[in-house]
Symmetry: C2
Subunit: 397 residues, 2 copies
């Protein structure tokens, strides 16, 4: 009476499995700076809370499978504000960006087919690939060149007869890299040449710094039928617990099929759709102070770490993550040691080992991901504690 | 540039595809009684709304993948109130009963394997089977005997080397049938003999009438490792739009694997978990008036239809549905005709064609599902209009 092979194979969250050590540290009275996960500390905007308080119905009933029309229209308008022409029919609301990824994988690939994803990548892609029985083919990037996409020829080597799509996540979790138009054009050209879809995870769209702008895959007219954006309000509006995302595509066959998968699970949560509507209606002015705040934190982290001996760090232009290389042999061991054996004035730091973001075995073993999701003062202190920990770890090794 | 085969194959919701005809009727000024879908009209209880209004956090953040501990404990206590010993570790909170079904299918079966389900069955099982690439093997029941389970030998004929589980939904959507302990024991015996899991969809647990009680699959000690309950607050507390469900099982390997799938999608909605907690804390007294209300409606519907010439109807003991057989050839045509061509004093009725609840081709073509989700007065009027429509339809045929 065994469970299924896929049920056995699915990877445990590499971040969550270290959580018990953090809990134990807290129990011992240690203050832990959590810069391991992408849970922003920016307050959820007031109009979102107002929408919650104003929700007034007698029965909390099902909404439409594709989501409420006003929210779909608001999302279309949001894209419109970036000069991307989208209508409400191109938008299907999902239960978080998570479900959007799952639907995209299921609608574009049959079991055993392949999706190419630059690594390191968002670890939960693995979970949805397992769920949909799709194989992820990694395209390995490296910290030394800031995780830029390789040449068109190198990307093309990953394409097989089973390839269905290339997934791009820009700004990227976990690297923070924002692809340039020139990099995107390589993928666009390959999609046309090899008859592929492009899935673009653009949930960090507004988190770009140094005056950079994000270019959406939806801006490329020549692949308008091949482009599928997976989106979410989690980071955009600091609404991680809302579970509202979307699949946005002009390919009608794709959106119709996504809708049928959506019908099976009935609807996304009703109340949070009203909250999301309020968020989108705030307009883009909302993002300015948020952007400034994250840019400052990014700079604080870079200044704090760049001259540390043995560390390889490049300053990324987006999201709120760094992948850095450390002069260590096993980052999971290091992260655990920081929680179990180290403290500086009763404080320690939790970062994320980077192996979990790679699917090539052995890759990322000397790297960690740091999320700058703490206020500047706490972040500075976390860096001090982190560097002290690293120094002591290296001495003992 | 085609989408996936499964994306093409997935069935459109047979109920939703007739929705445009209802919309057009409404546009023509016709009042439509909707007794086609299982959206209860019972008000969502006040403590649930209070929990919503009291939600007070600065950041709407991720919760744990398995759901909040207090809610998992409240659900364990709820089972305890039925003398079913469950602890919080046996409960994983899901995004509606929908996700619970999807997780159960994925964890118990690999692509191409089989799950036996008595038909007619909840049509969305098809969607999750398509998603998980699992084959549903139908076990056909019939209206004439009230959709009772057949003999153990007849059920056994459906078992193959690829069978992984038998799914039971009692009280049943769409038949209203509540399986007797004797019927459940047949399935328990087969699970032991053929090394199978039993998935029990018990979301209508409290919707049982005539003093009957619902027997849970979790009450059978001998299959304690084989029993997986998929559950939801949607009907139980009139919270369809909340999207809170659960997988409940004492099989640790199953719950650990479900948890890993759950980690990939991060967490269920945060606010609704607080609302669900308030619902479970009301205690079982809440169900008494709800039960009485539905029992009365069930009786009203039965009295209204039982003597109609040509109709085959059996009075079920649970849920809030009837499947009835009509003297017609194509119920989809009839349902559409009721919306496009019929009205009685500017009113008509929408019921659900039953084909969508069968996976055997041709089955249910002369049957419809009626959901008694209207107040008694409206329900009586809907029956009058429905019978008038049927009479006119038969005359014209």
């Amino acid at each position: 009476m065994d469970i299924s092979q896929r049920g056995l194979d699915i990877q445990e969250s590499p971040i969550r499995k270290l959580k018990p050590y953090a809990d134990q540290a807290i129990e011992r009275g240690i203050h832990v700076y959590f810069i391991n996960i992408g849970q922003p500390d920016i307050p959820t905007p007031q109009p979102v809370w107002d929408a919650l308080k104003q929700f007034d119905e007698e029965v909390l009933s099902y909404g439409p499978a594709q989501g409420f029309l006003d929210l779909r229209q608001a999302i279309a308008d949001y894209f419109g504000s970036y000069d991307i022409e989208i209508n409400s029919e191109n938008v299907v609301i999902t239960v978080g960006g998570s479900e959007a990824i799952h639907f995209a994988f299921s609608v574009l690939s049959d079991p055993g087919e392949e999706i190419i994803i630059p690594e390191p990548f968002y670890t939960n892609y693995n979970g949805f690939a397992a769920c949909a029985d799709v194989n992820i083919v990694p395209l390995t990037l490296s910290v030394e060149d800031g995780f830029r996409l390789p040449s068109i020829e190198t990307i093309a080597e990953k394409i097989s007869l089973k390839t269905r799509a290339i997934l791009l996540n820009s700004p990227s979790n976990p690297t923070g890299t924002v692809y340039t138009p020139e990099e995107l054009e390589r993928v666009v050209a390959l999609a046309l040449e090899h008859d592929l879809f492009i899935i673009a995870d653009e949930v960090y769209k507004e988190f770009v710094y140094d005056g950079a702008t994000h270019k959406s895959i939806l801006e490329y007219e020549e692949i308008k039928d091949r482009a599928i954006v997976v989106d979410s309000i989690s980071k955009r509006f600091s609404c991680c617990g809302a579970r509202i995302g979307a699949v946005v595509t002009r390919n009608e066959q794709v959106s119709q099929s996504v809708l049928k998968f959506a019908q099976a699970r009935l609807c996304p949560p009703t109340i949070e759709q009203k909250m999301a509507l309020a968020a989108y209606r705030m307009g883009r002015g909302y993002f300015d102070p948020v952007q400034k705040e994250y840019q400052r934190r990014r700079d604080v982290l870079y200044e704090g770490l760049k001259d540390t001996p043995g560390i390889v760090i490049r300053k990324p232009q987006g999201a709120f993550y760094y992948i850095i290389k450390l002069p260590i042999e096993d980052s999971e061991h290091f992260v655990r040691w920081m929680l179990t054996d180290f403290q500086l004035d009763n404080e320690t730091v939790m970062v994320a080992p980077a192996q979990g973001f790679y699917s090539t075995p052995g890759k990322g073993i000397d790297e960690v991901r740091i999320a700058y999701v703490l206020k500047e003062k706490d972040l500075k202190r976390a860096i001090t504690v982190f560097k002290a920990g690293l120094q002591e770890y290296l001495k003992r090794a």
